[in-house]
Amino acid sequence: MKAFLLMLTLCGIISVQAQSDKYVQAMQQKLALFDSAKTSADLQSLSAAFERIAEAEKTQWLPYYYAALIQARIGFSDKTADKDAIAAKANALLSKAESIEDNADLCTVRNMIATVQMMVDPMSRWQTYGAQASAALQKGMKLDPNNPRLYYLQGMSLFGTPPQFGGGKDKAKPLFEKAIALGKAEPAKPLFPHWGLAESEKMLAQCQ
C-alpha cells in the first residue's frame, strides 16, 4: 500500500515535470528558429506557433511576448505589411501577457509597436504614437531601470532624430553604452529575452 501511494505521488510529480518539460522544449525549439526566420511568412508562422503555446498554457507571459515581438519585427522589416493591423495584433497579445505579468520587456515591445505605427506617417502620427512610444519606455524604466533593451530602444529613437531636434549620434551614444553595460551584467535566464547586446554594440560602432 505504501509503495502504491509512493508510486502515485511519484507519477504525479513526473507528469507535472513532463508538462513543464514539454513547454520548455517547445519554447526552446521555437526560439532556435527565432534567429533563423527571415521571410515575413516564416516570422508569421513562428509568431502563430508562440501564440498557440501561449493560448494552451495561459499562465506564461513569455510565449505572448515572443509572439508580439515577432509581429514588431515584421512591422519594421516588411515594407508591404499593413502596420496598423500588425499593431492591433501585437497589442492584443501584449495585453494578454500583461494580465499575467506586467514587466519592462513587455514595455519594450509596446515601444516598438508604437514606433512602427508612427513610421506609417510620421508627420501626422508623431503626436499620438511618438508619445505612446516614449510613455512605454518611461513605464519600462519604472518597472526595471536595469533592463538593457529599454536603453537600446531609447538610443535608437535618438539616433533617428535629427540633431536640430535634440537627437543625433552624440545623444544616442551614452544610451548604447549603458545598454551594453547592462546587457553584459544581465544574468542569463533560460527562455527569457536576451537580445539587444549585439544590436547595441553595432549601433555604438556607428556612433563613433
Binding site: 513526473i14 517547445a26 502563430a48 495584433k89 508627420m123 532624430t161 535629427p162 536640430q164 535634440g166
Partner: protein
C-alpha cells in the same frame, strides 16, 4: 524496487502522453475560393498547429486524441471553428472557407463630396497645422480651405463660395450645432476673417456637396468641425505683433479628467495702417477685443465640453462717393458677438452612443452710413434724389439664437450603424432700419436619420434623410440623401452621392407672400486614390437649383439655376523628401436666375477655372519653414443691373474682370525646435499676401447713372504680418517638427 517503480512510472507517463501521431491538413480559402495565406491553424489548448502557405494549404501532426476543437483565424476574417474527432492514425482533412470580417480599418470610406480635414480623421486631407502654415492664409480656416477644389477665390466678401453657390449657402457647425456668425461682421467690399482658430479643432469635414443628413439648411456646402478634447498639458500662451497681442492659459487637472482655459486678445490696426497705406480713409481704425474660455470634463465614458467666445469691434471708413466727385460715404460698424457651445458625448454601452449639444449666441451689429462733404460733415438729400438719400441710413440688427440637438447612434451588426436625432433652433432678429423696426422670430425643427451599411469591405452605402420645418415660412421639407462607395483597389475607390438640400431664404428676403424653401439637388461622382503620402481625387458634379429667391419684379421663389463642374486635387508628400505640395483645379459652369437678375446668368462670384498650388518645406538646419500658395482664377462676370419702370431689371453693362492672381508667402522660424527641455517655446512668423502685387479686381461699382464705374479693390495690395507666438509649459514647436520629420 525503487528502480522498478521509476521504470513503471516512466512507462505509464509515456502511455499517458501517447506516441501515435495523426496528420491534420487541408486548405483555407475565402468565400470566393481564393486561397488565404498565413492563416493560423490551431488545435485549441494544444501547441499543435500550423500556418497556411501561399496556396492556403496547411498540414501538421498531433499527438492529441479524442474530440478537439480546430480553430482557423487570420485578421480580416471571421474565425473558423470545427470540432474534430482524432482516432487511430487516419489523417484528417479539414478545408475551411472564411467569411470576411468588415472592419473600419479596411472598409471603404463613404466620402463623396467631402474633404476630411483636421487631425482625427483617418483619411485627412489637411491638418490644423496645414491650415496654419498655408502661405498667405494667416491661419484663417476659410482662407486655407480656399486652396481646395470647389471653392472660389472671392476676396471682397467673407464666406466659402462653393460650386456656384453664394457665401450664405455654406454653413458651419461646431460639435453638431450651427454657428450663426462664423465671420467677423461684414464691411462692404472687404472680406473678413473667421472667428475660430484652426487649433480649436481636432477634426473637420469640409463637404462641398452631398453632405450628411445629420446637417441641414445649407444649399451648397457644410463645414463640420469637432473641437479638441483634453489638452495635452497645462500651458501659458502669449503672442505679440504690431497688429495684435494675446495672452491665455490652459490648465489640465492632475488626474487629467478635467481642464479649463481662458484667453484674451486685442487687435488694433492703427500702427499698421500708418505704415501700410489703405485705400479707404479709416476715420476709426479697426479695434477688436476678444476673449474666450472653455472647460472640459471627462465623464464615465465620454466628455462634456464648453466653449465660449466674446468679441467686440469698432471701425469706420470713408470712401469716395461714386455719384459725386466731391462727396464721400462714411461707413461705421460696431459689433459685439457672444458665442456659447456646450456639448456632451457619451458612450452609453451596449452599442449606443449619444451626442448632445446646445448653443447660444448673441450678435449685434450697429451700422451707419452717411454721405459727407469735403469737410466730413453729413449731407442730407431730398426725396427727389432718392439714390443719394438712401445712402444715409442707420441699421441695427440684434440676433439671439439658441439651439438644442440630440443624436443617438446604435451600432448594428459588424460596423453597420444607424444615427438618428432631432434638433431645434430658435432665433430672434430685432432689426431697425432708420425709423422702422421689426422683429423676426423663427423656430426651426428637424428630425433626421442616417445609416451606414457595409455590404462587404469594398462596398458601402449611406442612406439618410431629414424632415425640416421653419416657422417663419411655415413650410415642411423632406430631404433624402444617399451615398454609395465602392473600393476598386486597395487604395482607390469610386463614390456616388445624391441628396436634396433645403435652405430657408435669408431673413432680409422674407418679404414676399408665401415664401418657401430654396432647394438644391446634388449629383456627385467621385474617384479617390490615396496612399500614405499621395492623394489623387477627381470629382464631377451636377447641382440643380430650384425656388431661388427673386427680389424683382417682386419677392418670390421663382428663381432657379444650375452648377456643374469637374474638380481635381493632387497632394504629394513623397516625391521630394521633406517637401509637401498640393494642386487643385476646379472647372465650374453655372447660371442662375435669382435676386434682381433679368434672366439666368453666371453670377459675379463664379469663375470658370480656378487653380491653387500650395507648397511647404521646413528646413531643419535653419529651423525655418517656407510656405508658398499661388492661386489663380479666370475673370468673373460683372453686371450693371438697372431697374426699369416695370420693376424688372435689365443689363445696362456687363463684362468680365481680369484674371485673379495671388501669391501668398509665410515663413516660420522655430528656434527651440526639438529641444524638449526648452522652457519657452517660440514661433516667429512672417507672412505676406499677394507678394507679386497683382491688381485684384473683384468687380465694379456703378454710379446711379451707370456712366461711372469703379473697380472693387482690396483696401491695400498686400497684407503683411509679423508676429511672435510664445508658450510656456508645453512644446508647441512639436507640431512643426511632427510635420517635417
Amino acid at each position: 524496487m525503487r528502480k522498478q517503480l521509476a521504470l513503471l512510472c516512466l512507462a505509464l507517463g509515456v502511455v499517458c502522453s501517447g506516441w501515435t501521431q495523426v496528420t491534420i491538413g487541408g486548405s483555407v480559402k475565402d468565400k470566393k475560393g481564393r486561397p488565404i495565406p498565413l492563416a493560423s491553424v490551431t488545435l485549441k489548448n494544444s501547441y499543435d498547429g500550423a500556418t497556411t502557405d501561399s496556396m492556403g494549404r496547411y498540414s501538421f501532426q498531433t499527438t492529441e486524441t479524442g474530440a478537439q476543437l480546430l480553430v482557423i483565424s487570420i485578421m480580416g476574417y471571421k474565425p473558423f471553428e470545427q470540432t474534430i474527432i482524432i482516432q487511430g492514425t487516419a489523417a484528417i482533412s479539414v478545408n475551411a472557407s472564411l467569411a470576411e470580417q468588415i472592419d473600419e480599418l479596411r472598409a471603404v470610406v463613404v466620402s463623396a463630396g467631402s474633404f476630411p480635414a483636421g487631425d482625427a480623421k483617418r483619411a485627412n486631407i489637411m491638418s490644423s497645422l496645414d491650415m496654419a502654415t498655408t502661405g498667405g492664409a494667416n491661419a484663417d480656416i476659410t482662407a486655407a480651405l480656399k486652396t481646395l477644389p470647389g471653392t472660389q477665390q472671392i476676396n471682397d466678401q467673407e464666406g466659402l463660395f462653393v460650386r456656384g453657390g453664394t457665401g450664405y449657402e455654406t454653413k458651419q457647425f461646431i460639435d453638431g450645432t450651427l454657428v450663426n456668425n462664423p465671420y467677423f461682421s461684414s464691411v462692404p467690399d472687404i472680406s473678413q476673417r473667421g472667428r475660430f482658430s484652426p487649433f480649436l479643432f481636432k477634426g473637420m469635414v469640409f463637404s462641398t456637396g452631398g453632405y450628411s443628413a445629420l446637417y441641414g439648411q445649407a444649399l451648397s456646402a457644410a463645414l463640420v468641425m469637432e473641437s479638441i478634447d483634453m489638452p495635452e498639458r497645462s500651458e501659458v500662451d502669449a503672442s505679440l505683433s504690431p497688429i495684435f497681442a494675446s495672452i491665455g492659459t490652459q490648465q489640465l487637472a492632475k488626474n487629467k479628467k478635467s481642464s479649463w482655459g481662458v484667453n484674451y486678445n486685442y487687435t488694433n490696426l492703427t500702427a499698421y495702417f500708418n505704415i501700410v497705406k489703405q485705400k479707404p480713409d479709416y476715420f476709426k481704425t479697426p479695434v477688436f477685443h476678444g476673449g474666450d474660455a472653455n472647460f472640459r470634463i471627462k465623464t464615465k465614458n465620454g466628455i462634456i465640453k464648453y466653449y465660449t467666445t466674446f468679441s467686440k469691434s469698432d471701425l469706420g471708413l470713408r470712401r469716395e462717393d461714386i455719384d459725386s466727385s466731391y462727396l464721400k460715404d462714411a461707413f461705421g460698424l460696431s459689433n459685439y458677438n457672444w458665442y456659447n457651445n456646450l456639448s456632451w458625448r457619451e458612450n452609453l454601452g451596449n452599442g449606443w452612443k449619444m451626442q448632445a449639444g446646445t448653443g447660444f449666441s448673441i450678435n449685434k451689429d450697429d451700422i451707419s452710413q452717411h454721405v459727407q462733404d469735403q469737410a466730413n460733415a453729413d449731407k442730407q438729400f431730398s426725396n427727389a434724389v432718392f439714390w443719394m438719400r438712401d445712402k444715409n441710413f442707420m441699421l441695427h440688427n440684434k440676433q439671439i439664437a439658441a439651439q438644442a440637438r440630440l443624436v443617438l447612434e446604435k451600432r448594428l451588426s459588424g460596423i453597420n450603424n444607424i444615427r438618428f436625432g432631432s434638433e431645434y433652433w430658435y432665433s430672434r432678429n430685432n432689426i431697425s432700419y432708420n425709423d422702422s423696426s421689426y422683429v423676426l422670430p423663427d423656430h426651426y425643427k428637424a428630425l433626421f436619420a442616417e445609416s451606414n451599411i457595409y455590404i462587404t469591405n469594398d462596398l458601402a452605402l449611406t442612406v439618410g434623410g431629414r424632415l425640416e420645418h421653419n416657422s417663419s415660412i411655415d413650410k415642411m421639407a423632406v430631404a433624402p440623401r444617399a451615398t454609395f462607395a465602392y473600393k476598386t483597389s486597395k487604395d482607390a475607390q469610386v463614390s456616388l452621392a445624391y441628396g436634396i438640400f433645403f435652405q430657408k431664404p435669408e431673413n432680409s428676403q422674407l418679404r414676399g407672400n408665401d415664401m418657401r424653401y430654396t432647394k438644391a439637388s446634388h449629383y456627385i461622382l467621385n474617384y479617390t486614390k490615396m496612399t500614405r503620402l499621395r492623394l489623387f481625387r477627381a470629382e464631377a458634379y451636377y447641382k440643380k437649383y430650384e425656388h431661388l429667391v427673386k427680389t424683382a419684379p417682386e419677392y418670390s421663389n421663382n428663381g432657379d439655376g444650375y452648377a456643374k463642374g469637374v474638380e481635381v486635387l493632387w497632394r504629394d508628400r513623397q516625391s521630394i523628401k521633406g517637401f509637401d505640395y498640393w494642386v487643385s483645379y476646379s472647372y465650374l459652369d453655372t447660371k442662375r436666375d435669382y435676386l434682381n437678375f433679368p434672366e439666368r446668368m453666371t453670377p459675379n462670384f463664379a469663375a470658370d477655372h480656378t487653380v491653387s498650388l500650395v507648397t511647404k518645406r521646413f528646413f531643419t538646419s535653419i529651423k525655418t519653414g517656407f510656405n508658398f500658395t499661388y492661386s489663380f482664377a479666370t475673370g468673373r462676370p460683372y453686371y450693371n443691373l438697372q431697374q426699369q419702370t416695370n420693376q424688372k431689371y435689365r443689363i445696362a453693362d456687363a463684362g468680365t474682370t481680369k484674371d485673379f492672381h495671388n501669391l501668398g508667402f509665410s515663413m516660420n522660424y522655430v528656434p527651440n525646435a526639438g529641444n524638449p527641455k526648452a522652457r519657452t517655446n517660440m514661433v516667429l512668423l512672417a507672412s505676406v499676401t499677394n507678394v507679386l502685387g497683382a491688381q485684384q479686381v473683384s468687380g465694379y461699382n456703378y454710379s446711379y447713372s451707370g456712366l461711372v464705374k469703379s473697380p472693387i479693390l482690396p483696401p491695400a495690395k498686400r497684407f503683411f504680418l509679423i508676429g511672435i507666438f510664445l508658450s510656456w509649459g508645453v512644446d508647441r514647436t512639436d507640431d512643426i517638427i511632427n510635420n517635417n520629420l
